[in-house]
Amino acid sequence: MPEPALLNVSNLQAWYGESHVLHGVTFDVRKGEVVTLIGRNGAGKTTTLRSLIGVVGKRAGSGTFKGVDLLKVAPHKVARLGIGYVPEERGIFSKLNVIENLLFPPAWQSGGMSVNEIYSLFPNLKGRDSTPGTRLSGGEQQMLAIGRILRTGADFILLDEPTEGIAPVIIEEIGAALRILKDRGMTIILVEQNLRFAASVADRHFVLDQGKVVDEIANHALDANMDRLNRYLGV
Protein backbone atom coordinates (compact mmCIF):
# COMPACT_ATOMS: atom_id res chain seq x y z
CA MET A 1 0.00 0.00 0.00
CA PRO A 2 1.47 3.41 -0.91
CA GLU A 3 2.14 5.87 1.88
CA PRO A 4 -0.60 8.47 2.29
CA ALA A 5 0.52 11.92 1.18
CA LEU A 6 2.19 14.12 3.78
CA LEU A 7 1.32 17.22 1.81
CA ASN A 8 -1.63 17.49 -0.51
CA VAL A 9 -1.77 20.62 -2.59
CA SER A 10 -5.05 21.02 -4.39
CA ASN A 11 -6.07 23.71 -6.85
CA LEU A 12 -3.72 26.23 -5.25
CA GLN A 13 -4.17 29.73 -6.62
CA ALA A 14 -2.23 32.85 -5.75
CA TRP A 15 -2.14 36.51 -6.62
CA TYR A 16 0.53 39.19 -6.41
CA GLY A 17 -1.53 42.32 -6.12
CA GLU A 18 -3.83 42.25 -9.13
CA SER A 19 -1.93 39.67 -11.12
CA HIS A 20 -3.13 36.10 -10.88
CA VAL A 21 0.03 33.98 -10.74
CA LEU A 22 -1.04 30.46 -9.76
CA HIS A 23 -4.04 29.02 -11.60
CA GLY A 24 -4.65 25.78 -9.77
CA VAL A 25 -1.50 23.94 -8.72
CA THR A 26 -2.17 20.35 -7.68
CA PHE A 27 0.41 17.84 -6.45
CA ASP A 28 1.22 15.67 -3.49
CA VAL A 29 4.31 14.75 -1.52
CA ARG A 30 4.69 11.52 0.41
CA LYS A 31 6.69 11.13 3.58
CA GLY A 32 10.39 10.69 2.91
CA GLU A 33 10.13 11.68 -0.72
CA VAL A 34 12.11 14.25 -2.64
CA VAL A 35 9.81 15.93 -5.12
CA THR A 36 10.83 18.63 -7.55
CA LEU A 37 8.89 21.42 -9.10
CA ILE A 38 10.40 22.14 -12.48
CA GLY A 39 9.45 24.51 -15.22
CA ARG A 40 10.42 27.66 -17.00
CA ASN A 41 11.15 30.97 -15.30
CA GLY A 42 7.86 32.48 -14.18
CA ALA A 43 5.99 29.17 -14.26
CA GLY A 44 5.04 29.61 -10.59
CA LYS A 45 7.50 27.29 -8.82
CA THR A 46 8.75 29.80 -6.28
CA THR A 47 5.28 31.25 -5.84
CA THR A 48 3.99 27.77 -5.01
CA LEU A 49 6.47 27.47 -2.13
CA ARG A 50 5.81 31.01 -0.99
CA SER A 51 2.07 30.43 -1.05
CA LEU A 52 2.41 27.35 1.13
CA ILE A 53 4.28 29.25 3.84
CA GLY A 54 2.01 32.28 3.64
CA VAL A 55 4.36 34.89 2.21
CA VAL A 56 2.00 35.54 -0.68
CA GLY A 57 -0.95 37.65 0.40
CA LYS A 58 -3.95 36.35 -1.48
CA ARG A 59 -4.37 32.61 -1.96
CA ALA A 60 -7.12 30.09 -2.66
CA GLY A 61 -7.41 26.32 -2.84
CA SER A 62 -5.78 24.15 -0.20
CA GLY A 63 -2.47 22.71 0.92
CA THR A 64 -3.06 20.06 3.54
CA PHE A 65 -0.02 19.17 5.60
CA LYS A 66 -0.37 16.47 8.27
CA GLY A 67 -4.11 17.11 8.19
CA VAL A 68 -3.81 20.91 8.59
CA ASP A 69 -4.65 23.30 5.76
CA LEU A 70 -1.60 25.55 5.49
CA LEU A 71 -3.69 28.24 3.83
CA LYS A 72 -5.67 28.62 7.02
CA VAL A 73 -2.63 28.76 9.32
CA ALA A 74 -1.12 32.10 10.37
CA PRO A 75 2.17 32.56 8.47
CA HIS A 76 4.31 32.46 11.61
CA LYS A 77 2.77 29.13 12.64
CA VAL A 78 3.79 27.21 9.52
CA ALA A 79 7.35 26.69 10.77
CA ARG A 80 5.97 25.32 14.02
CA LEU A 81 4.43 22.42 12.09
CA GLY A 82 7.92 21.33 11.11
CA ILE A 83 8.22 23.04 7.75
CA GLY A 84 11.58 24.60 6.95
CA TYR A 85 11.96 27.14 4.17
CA VAL A 86 15.17 27.89 2.31
CA PRO A 87 14.50 30.88 0.04
CA GLU A 88 15.97 31.36 -3.39
CA GLU A 89 17.94 34.41 -2.29
CA ARG A 90 19.13 32.31 0.71
CA GLY A 91 18.26 35.02 3.21
CA ILE A 92 21.49 35.05 5.15
CA PHE A 93 21.36 37.96 7.60
CA SER A 94 24.17 40.38 6.84
CA LYS A 95 24.32 41.71 10.38
CA LEU A 96 24.82 38.23 11.85
CA ASN A 97 27.90 36.04 11.58
CA VAL A 98 27.86 32.37 10.57
CA ILE A 99 27.12 30.86 13.95
CA GLU A 100 24.52 33.53 14.73
CA ASN A 101 22.80 32.81 11.43
CA LEU A 102 22.95 29.11 12.18
CA LEU A 103 21.44 29.54 15.63
CA PHE A 104 18.91 32.13 14.50
CA PRO A 105 15.73 30.16 13.69
CA PRO A 106 14.03 28.85 16.81
CA ALA A 107 13.82 25.04 17.10
CA TRP A 108 10.13 24.17 17.11
CA GLN A 109 10.44 20.38 17.14
CA SER A 110 12.78 17.94 18.78
CA GLY A 111 15.06 15.85 16.61
CA GLY A 112 16.88 18.75 14.97
CA MET A 113 20.54 18.35 14.10
CA SER A 114 23.24 19.70 16.38
CA VAL A 115 25.64 22.35 15.16
CA ASN A 116 28.38 19.70 14.97
CA GLU A 117 26.20 17.42 12.85
CA ILE A 118 25.51 20.33 10.53
CA TYR A 119 29.23 21.03 10.27
CA SER A 120 29.96 17.44 9.39
CA LEU A 121 27.27 17.60 6.73
CA PHE A 122 28.70 20.88 5.38
CA PRO A 123 32.43 20.91 6.30
CA ASN A 124 32.88 24.23 4.47
CA LEU A 125 31.07 25.99 7.30
CA LYS A 126 33.31 24.58 9.99
CA GLY A 127 35.70 27.06 11.60
CA ARG A 128 33.87 30.00 10.03
CA ASP A 129 31.71 30.85 13.05
CA SER A 130 32.70 34.49 13.32
CA THR A 131 32.69 35.27 9.59
CA PRO A 132 29.84 37.65 8.66
CA GLY A 133 27.19 35.51 6.99
CA THR A 134 27.15 37.38 3.73
CA ARG A 135 30.96 37.16 3.35
CA LEU A 136 30.64 33.45 2.55
CA SER A 137 30.64 32.36 -1.09
CA GLY A 138 27.25 31.81 -2.68
CA GLY A 139 27.57 28.05 -2.26
CA GLU A 140 28.57 28.35 1.37
CA GLN A 141 25.67 30.69 2.02
CA GLN A 142 23.40 28.06 0.51
CA MET A 143 24.85 25.47 2.88
CA LEU A 144 24.29 27.85 5.77
CA ALA A 145 20.71 28.49 4.68
CA ILE A 146 20.00 24.74 4.57
CA GLY A 147 21.99 24.06 7.74
CA ARG A 148 20.12 26.53 9.88
CA ILE A 149 16.82 24.87 8.94
CA LEU A 150 18.15 21.44 9.95
CA ARG A 151 18.71 22.71 13.49
CA THR A 152 15.02 23.55 13.93
CA GLY A 153 13.75 20.00 13.85
CA ALA A 154 11.89 20.61 10.61
CA ASP A 155 11.25 17.32 8.81
CA PHE A 156 9.77 18.90 5.70
CA ILE A 157 11.97 21.23 3.73
CA LEU A 158 11.07 23.64 0.97
CA LEU A 159 14.21 24.27 -1.02
CA ASP A 160 14.15 26.98 -3.66
CA GLU A 161 16.81 26.60 -6.38
CA PRO A 162 19.76 25.64 -4.20
CA THR A 163 22.06 25.31 -7.22
CA GLU A 164 21.42 28.66 -8.82
CA GLY A 165 24.67 30.45 -9.59
CA ILE A 166 26.78 27.97 -7.65
CA ALA A 167 30.04 26.26 -8.62
CA PRO A 168 29.67 22.64 -9.83
CA VAL A 169 31.85 21.25 -7.02
CA ILE A 170 29.59 22.82 -4.41
CA ILE A 171 26.49 21.63 -6.26
CA GLU A 172 27.78 18.08 -5.87
CA GLU A 173 28.32 18.61 -2.16
CA ILE A 174 24.81 19.97 -1.74
CA GLY A 175 23.43 17.03 -3.72
CA ALA A 176 25.30 14.59 -1.47
CA ALA A 177 23.95 16.38 1.61
CA LEU A 178 20.39 16.18 0.29
CA ARG A 179 20.74 12.42 -0.28
CA ILE A 180 21.96 12.03 3.32
CA LEU A 181 18.98 14.05 4.55
CA LYS A 182 16.67 11.88 2.48
CA ASP A 183 18.18 8.75 4.01
CA ARG A 184 17.47 10.24 7.41
CA GLY A 185 13.78 10.39 6.48
CA MET A 186 13.52 14.05 5.54
CA THR A 187 10.84 15.05 3.05
CA ILE A 188 11.86 17.70 0.54
CA ILE A 189 10.24 19.85 -2.12
CA LEU A 190 12.92 21.09 -4.45
CA VAL A 191 12.38 23.90 -6.91
CA GLU A 192 14.98 23.39 -9.59
CA GLN A 193 15.96 24.46 -13.09
CA ASN A 194 19.00 22.21 -13.19
CA LEU A 195 17.50 18.96 -14.45
CA ARG A 196 20.66 16.92 -13.96
CA PHE A 197 20.84 17.95 -10.32
CA ALA A 198 17.11 17.35 -9.84
CA ALA A 199 17.43 13.85 -11.31
CA SER A 200 20.28 13.03 -8.94
CA VAL A 201 18.15 13.46 -5.81
CA ALA A 202 14.45 13.33 -6.64
CA ASP A 203 11.80 10.61 -6.68
CA ARG A 204 9.22 12.45 -8.73
CA HIS A 205 9.06 15.61 -10.81
CA PHE A 206 6.09 17.91 -11.23
CA VAL A 207 6.22 20.15 -14.27
CA LEU A 208 4.75 23.62 -13.84
CA ASP A 209 3.70 25.81 -16.70
CA GLN A 210 1.82 29.11 -16.50
CA GLY A 211 0.80 28.61 -12.89
CA LYS A 212 -0.38 25.02 -13.21
CA VAL A 213 1.04 21.53 -12.76
CA VAL A 214 0.91 20.14 -16.28
CA ASP A 215 2.70 16.83 -15.84
CA GLU A 216 4.14 14.38 -13.36
CA ILE A 217 7.16 12.26 -14.22
CA ALA A 218 8.72 9.62 -11.99
CA ASN A 219 12.48 9.97 -11.74
CA HIS A 220 13.14 6.51 -13.22
CA ALA A 221 11.06 7.48 -16.26
CA LEU A 222 12.90 10.73 -16.78
CA ASP A 223 15.13 9.54 -19.64
CA ALA A 224 12.22 8.02 -21.52
CA ASN A 225 10.29 11.28 -21.27
CA MET A 226 13.12 13.67 -22.02
CA ASP A 227 11.58 14.93 -25.27
CA ARG A 228 8.32 15.77 -23.57
CA LEU A 229 10.13 17.49 -20.74
CA ASN A 230 12.31 19.56 -23.04
CA ARG A 231 9.20 20.77 -24.77
CA TYR A 232 7.81 22.03 -21.46
CA LEU A 233 11.06 23.65 -20.49
CA GLY A 234 11.51 25.12 -23.93
CA VAL A 235 15.08 23.95 -24.36
Binding site: V55, H76, A79, Y85, K95, P106, W108, T152
Partner: protein
Protein backbone atom coordinates in the same frame (compact mmCIF):
# COMPACT_ATOMS: atom_id res chain seq x y z
CA UNK B 1 39.70 79.18 40.48
CA UNK B 2 36.09 80.18 40.85
CA UNK B 3 35.23 80.97 37.30
CA UNK B 4 35.86 79.70 33.80
CA UNK B 5 35.99 82.13 30.87
CA UNK B 6 34.23 84.66 33.05
CA UNK B 7 31.49 82.29 34.17
CA UNK B 8 31.39 81.22 37.85
CA UNK B 9 31.97 77.48 38.18
CA UNK B 10 28.72 76.77 40.12
CA UNK B 11 26.74 78.50 37.36
CA UNK B 12 28.57 76.50 34.72
CA UNK B 13 27.95 73.23 36.55
CA UNK B 14 24.34 74.18 37.08
CA UNK B 15 23.90 74.67 33.34
CA UNK B 16 25.70 71.42 32.65
CA UNK B 17 23.28 69.67 34.96
CA UNK B 18 20.31 71.29 33.24
CA UNK B 19 21.81 70.21 29.94
CA UNK B 20 22.10 66.63 31.18
CA UNK B 21 18.48 66.70 32.35
CA UNK B 22 17.26 67.93 28.99
CA UNK B 23 19.58 65.39 27.38
CA UNK B 24 17.98 62.62 29.44
CA UNK B 25 14.56 63.48 28.05
CA UNK B 26 15.97 63.79 24.55
CA UNK B 27 17.52 60.35 25.05
CA UNK B 28 14.31 58.65 26.21
CA UNK B 29 12.44 60.14 23.28
CA UNK B 30 15.03 59.83 20.53
CA UNK B 31 15.77 56.24 21.56
CA UNK B 32 12.13 55.34 20.89
CA UNK B 33 12.07 57.32 17.66
CA UNK B 34 15.23 55.60 16.42
CA UNK B 35 13.88 52.15 17.26
CA UNK B 36 10.54 52.84 15.62
CA UNK B 37 12.29 54.13 12.53
CA UNK B 38 14.77 51.26 12.43
CA UNK B 39 12.29 48.46 13.07
CA UNK B 40 8.99 49.74 11.66
CA UNK B 41 10.33 52.14 9.05
CA UNK B 42 8.00 54.79 10.42
CA UNK B 43 8.90 58.41 11.16
CA UNK B 44 6.79 58.75 14.27
CA UNK B 45 5.78 62.38 14.42
CA UNK B 46 3.29 61.56 17.18
CA UNK B 47 6.14 60.85 19.58
CA UNK B 48 5.92 64.27 21.22
CA UNK B 49 2.17 63.86 21.62
CA UNK B 50 2.72 60.58 23.47
CA UNK B 51 5.20 62.37 25.73
CA UNK B 52 2.54 64.97 26.43
CA UNK B 53 -0.02 62.21 26.96
CA UNK B 54 2.27 60.61 29.55
CA UNK B 55 2.53 63.92 31.38
CA UNK B 56 -1.23 64.35 31.38
CA UNK B 57 -1.87 60.78 32.51
CA UNK B 58 0.48 61.39 35.45
CA UNK B 59 -1.12 64.72 36.28
CA UNK B 60 -4.67 63.37 35.96
CA UNK B 61 -4.04 60.29 38.06
CA UNK B 62 -2.41 62.37 40.78
CA UNK B 63 -4.71 65.37 40.91
CA UNK B 64 -8.06 63.77 40.06
CA UNK B 65 -7.67 60.24 41.38
CA UNK B 66 -5.14 60.74 44.12
CA UNK B 67 -2.67 58.17 42.80
CA UNK B 68 0.87 58.75 44.05
CA UNK B 69 3.89 59.61 41.90
CA UNK B 70 5.28 56.09 41.79
CA UNK B 71 1.99 54.67 40.61
CA UNK B 72 1.64 57.29 37.92
CA UNK B 73 5.21 56.64 36.77
CA UNK B 74 4.15 53.04 36.32
CA UNK B 75 0.69 53.68 34.87
CA UNK B 76 1.61 56.43 32.39
CA UNK B 77 3.83 54.29 30.12
CA UNK B 78 1.33 51.45 30.36
CA UNK B 79 -1.64 53.57 29.28
CA UNK B 80 0.33 55.41 26.62
CA UNK B 81 1.67 52.08 25.36
CA UNK B 82 -1.91 50.84 25.13
CA UNK B 83 -2.80 53.88 23.03
CA UNK B 84 0.18 52.95 20.87
CA UNK B 85 -1.14 49.40 20.41
CA UNK B 86 -4.49 50.73 19.25
CA UNK B 87 -2.96 53.19 16.79
CA UNK B 88 -0.49 50.62 15.43
CA UNK B 89 -3.08 47.90 15.01
CA UNK B 90 -5.79 50.05 13.47
CA UNK B 91 -3.83 52.57 11.39
CA UNK B 92 -0.07 52.39 11.25
CA UNK B 93 0.31 48.77 10.17
CA UNK B 94 -1.61 49.47 6.99
CA UNK B 95 1.13 51.85 5.91
CA UNK B 96 4.27 49.71 6.42
CA UNK B 97 4.53 48.82 2.76
CA UNK B 98 4.14 52.40 1.61
CA UNK B 99 6.51 55.33 1.43
CA UNK B 100 7.67 56.91 4.73
CA UNK B 101 5.71 59.98 3.84
CA UNK B 102 2.37 58.32 4.55
CA UNK B 103 3.19 57.27 8.09
CA UNK B 104 4.83 60.63 8.71
CA UNK B 105 1.65 62.43 7.66
CA UNK B 106 -0.54 60.04 9.65
CA UNK B 107 1.46 60.42 12.84
CA UNK B 108 1.73 64.19 12.33
CA UNK B 109 -2.05 64.30 12.06
CA UNK B 110 -2.42 62.21 15.21
CA UNK B 111 -0.07 64.60 17.03
CA UNK B 112 -2.11 67.64 15.94
CA UNK B 113 -5.38 66.01 16.94
CA UNK B 114 -4.11 64.92 20.34
CA UNK B 115 -2.63 68.31 21.08
CA UNK B 116 -5.77 70.10 19.93
CA UNK B 117 -7.98 67.79 21.94
CA UNK B 118 -6.00 68.35 25.13
CA UNK B 119 -5.91 72.09 24.57
CA UNK B 120 -9.68 72.03 24.16
CA UNK B 121 -10.31 70.00 27.30
CA UNK B 122 -7.62 71.23 29.66
CA UNK B 123 -6.67 74.64 28.28
CA UNK B 124 -3.24 75.77 27.21
CA UNK B 125 -1.98 76.68 30.67
CA UNK B 126 0.54 74.41 32.37
CA UNK B 127 -0.56 72.15 35.18
CA UNK B 128 1.72 72.03 38.21
CA UNK B 129 2.85 68.67 39.51
CA UNK B 130 4.62 68.42 42.86
CA UNK B 131 7.93 66.66 43.28
CA UNK B 132 7.30 63.45 45.28
CA UNK B 133 8.25 63.73 48.95
CA UNK B 134 10.92 61.05 48.70
CA UNK B 135 12.77 62.95 45.99
CA UNK B 136 12.56 66.51 47.34
CA UNK B 137 15.53 68.41 48.66
CA UNK B 138 19.04 68.20 47.41
CA UNK B 139 22.59 67.18 48.11
CA UNK B 140 25.36 69.68 48.62
CA UNK B 141 28.26 68.35 46.58
CA UNK B 142 30.57 71.07 47.84
CA UNK B 143 31.06 72.66 44.46
CA UNK B 144 27.32 72.77 43.69
CA UNK B 145 23.85 71.93 44.96
CA UNK B 146 22.29 68.87 43.32
CA UNK B 147 18.49 68.60 43.58
CA UNK B 148 17.57 64.98 44.27
CA UNK B 149 14.78 64.89 41.70
CA UNK B 150 17.15 65.97 38.93
CA UNK B 151 19.69 63.34 39.89
CA UNK B 152 16.90 60.77 39.85
CA UNK B 153 15.77 61.82 36.36
CA UNK B 154 19.27 61.44 34.96
CA UNK B 155 19.89 58.10 36.68
CA UNK B 156 16.60 56.47 35.74
CA UNK B 157 16.72 57.73 32.15
CA UNK B 158 20.24 56.46 31.65
CA UNK B 159 19.37 53.10 33.21
CA UNK B 160 16.35 52.67 30.94
CA UNK B 161 18.28 53.69 27.84
CA UNK B 162 21.09 51.27 28.59
CA UNK B 163 18.71 48.40 29.39
CA UNK B 164 16.79 49.02 26.17
CA UNK B 165 19.99 49.12 24.16
CA UNK B 166 21.15 45.86 25.75
CA UNK B 167 17.79 44.21 25.09
CA UNK B 168 17.99 45.06 21.41
CA UNK B 169 21.68 44.45 20.79
CA UNK B 170 22.36 41.54 23.11
CA UNK B 171 19.27 39.36 23.51
CA UNK B 172 17.68 36.71 21.32
CA UNK B 173 14.48 38.72 21.10
CA UNK B 174 16.45 41.79 20.05
CA UNK B 175 18.17 39.64 17.43
CA UNK B 176 14.77 38.65 16.00
CA UNK B 177 13.84 42.31 15.86
CA UNK B 178 17.03 43.31 14.08
CA UNK B 179 16.70 40.43 11.63
CA UNK B 180 13.07 41.32 11.02
CA UNK B 181 14.17 44.74 9.80
CA UNK B 182 16.35 43.01 7.23
CA UNK B 183 13.96 40.32 6.03
CA UNK B 184 10.58 40.26 7.81
CA UNK B 185 9.07 37.58 5.57
CA UNK B 186 11.88 35.14 6.30
CA UNK B 187 11.84 35.78 10.05
CA UNK B 188 8.13 35.04 9.92
CA UNK B 189 8.80 31.87 7.91
CA UNK B 190 11.06 30.76 10.77
CA UNK B 191 8.02 30.82 13.03
CA UNK B 192 8.31 34.22 14.66
CA UNK B 193 5.22 36.36 14.98
CA UNK B 194 6.58 39.46 13.30
CA UNK B 195 3.37 41.55 13.27
CA UNK B 196 2.97 41.04 17.02
CA UNK B 197 6.61 41.94 17.55
CA UNK B 198 6.14 45.19 15.62
CA UNK B 199 3.03 46.10 17.60
CA UNK B 200 4.85 45.53 20.88
CA UNK B 201 7.89 47.45 19.68
CA UNK B 202 5.74 50.45 18.85
CA UNK B 203 3.89 50.16 22.15
CA UNK B 204 7.15 49.92 24.07
CA UNK B 205 8.68 52.95 22.36
CA UNK B 206 5.68 55.22 22.76
CA UNK B 207 5.42 53.87 26.31
CA UNK B 208 8.95 55.19 26.83
CA UNK B 209 7.75 58.57 25.59
CA UNK B 210 4.86 58.37 28.06
CA UNK B 211 7.30 57.49 30.83
CA UNK B 212 9.43 60.51 29.90
CA UNK B 213 6.31 62.69 30.07
CA UNK B 214 5.45 61.45 33.56
CA UNK B 215 9.07 61.88 34.63
CA UNK B 216 9.06 65.43 33.29
CA UNK B 217 5.82 66.43 35.01
CA UNK B 218 7.42 67.65 38.27
CA UNK B 219 10.19 69.50 36.40
CA UNK B 220 8.28 71.27 33.69
CA UNK B 221 4.59 71.97 33.89
CA UNK B 222 2.25 69.59 32.11
CA UNK B 223 0.74 71.36 29.11
CA UNK B 224 -0.72 70.36 25.73
CA UNK B 225 2.18 72.03 23.92
CA UNK B 226 4.97 70.25 25.80
CA UNK B 227 5.25 67.57 23.14
CA UNK B 228 5.46 69.78 20.10
CA UNK B 229 8.09 71.99 21.72
CA UNK B 230 10.45 69.07 22.39
CA UNK B 231 9.80 66.85 19.37
CA UNK B 232 11.65 68.98 16.82
CA UNK B 233 14.83 68.90 18.89
CA UNK B 234 14.40 65.16 19.33
CA UNK B 235 14.14 64.72 15.57
CA UNK B 236 17.32 66.73 15.17
CA UNK B 237 18.99 64.39 17.68
CA UNK B 238 17.97 61.35 15.67
CA UNK B 239 19.17 62.91 12.43
CA UNK B 240 22.51 63.81 14.02
CA UNK B 241 22.95 60.37 15.59
CA UNK B 242 21.92 58.56 12.41
CA UNK B 243 18.37 57.35 11.78
CA UNK B 244 17.95 53.87 13.20
CA UNK B 245 21.11 53.91 15.31
CA UNK B 246 19.95 53.24 18.86
CA UNK B 247 23.24 53.71 20.68
CA UNK B 248 23.87 56.78 18.55
CA UNK B 249 20.57 58.31 19.60
CA UNK B 250 21.36 57.93 23.31
CA UNK B 251 24.88 59.35 23.11
CA UNK B 252 23.85 62.19 20.80
CA UNK B 253 20.90 63.12 23.01
CA UNK B 254 23.04 63.53 26.12
CA UNK B 255 25.80 65.33 24.24
CA UNK B 256 23.36 67.77 22.65
CA UNK B 257 21.69 68.43 25.98
CA UNK B 258 25.08 69.41 27.36
CA UNK B 259 25.96 71.50 24.29
CA UNK B 260 22.66 73.31 24.67
CA UNK B 261 23.37 73.92 28.36
CA UNK B 262 26.83 75.28 27.63
CA UNK B 263 25.51 77.56 24.90
CA UNK B 264 23.04 78.90 27.42
CA UNK B 265 25.93 79.79 29.70
CA UNK B 266 28.25 81.41 27.19
CA UNK B 267 25.91 82.81 24.57
CA UNK B 268 22.30 82.53 25.76
CA UNK B 269 20.86 84.06 22.60
CA UNK B 270 21.99 81.03 20.57
CA UNK B 271 20.87 78.33 22.99
CA UNK B 272 17.66 77.45 21.19
CA UNK B 273 19.40 77.00 17.85
CA UNK B 274 22.58 75.26 19.03
CA UNK B 275 21.18 71.81 18.30
CA UNK B 276 20.17 72.80 14.80
CA UNK B 277 23.54 74.33 14.04
CA UNK B 278 25.09 70.99 14.99
CA UNK B 279 22.54 69.25 12.79
CA UNK B 280 23.43 71.39 9.80
CA UNK B 281 27.14 70.72 10.31
CA UNK B 282 26.58 66.98 10.60
CA UNK B 283 24.42 66.91 7.50
CA UNK B 284 27.12 68.78 5.59
CA UNK B 285 29.94 66.52 6.74
CA UNK B 286 28.32 63.14 7.33
CA UNK B 287 24.77 63.13 5.95
CA UNK B 288 23.86 59.67 7.18
CA UNK B 289 24.52 60.68 10.81
CA UNK B 290 27.39 60.35 13.25
CA UNK B 291 26.68 56.78 14.31
CA UNK B 292 25.10 55.26 11.22
CA UNK B 293 26.67 52.07 9.93
CA UNK B 294 26.86 53.17 6.34
CA UNK B 295 29.42 55.95 6.04
Amino acid sequence: MTDFLGVPIPVLLGQLLLGLINGSFYALLSLGLAIIFGMLNVINFAHGAFYMLGGFVAWYLLSKMGLGYWWTLFAAPLLVGLAGVIIEKTLLKRLYRMDHLYSLLLTFGIALMLEGLFRHIFGAAGKPYPVPALLTGGINLGFMFLPVYRAWVIAVSLAICILTWLAIERTKLGGYLRAATENPALVQAFGINVPLMLTLTYAFCVGLAGFAGALAAPLYQVSPGMGSSIIIVVFAVVVIGGMGSIGGAIVTALALGVIEGLTKTFYPAASSIAVFVVMVLVILIRPSGLFSREA
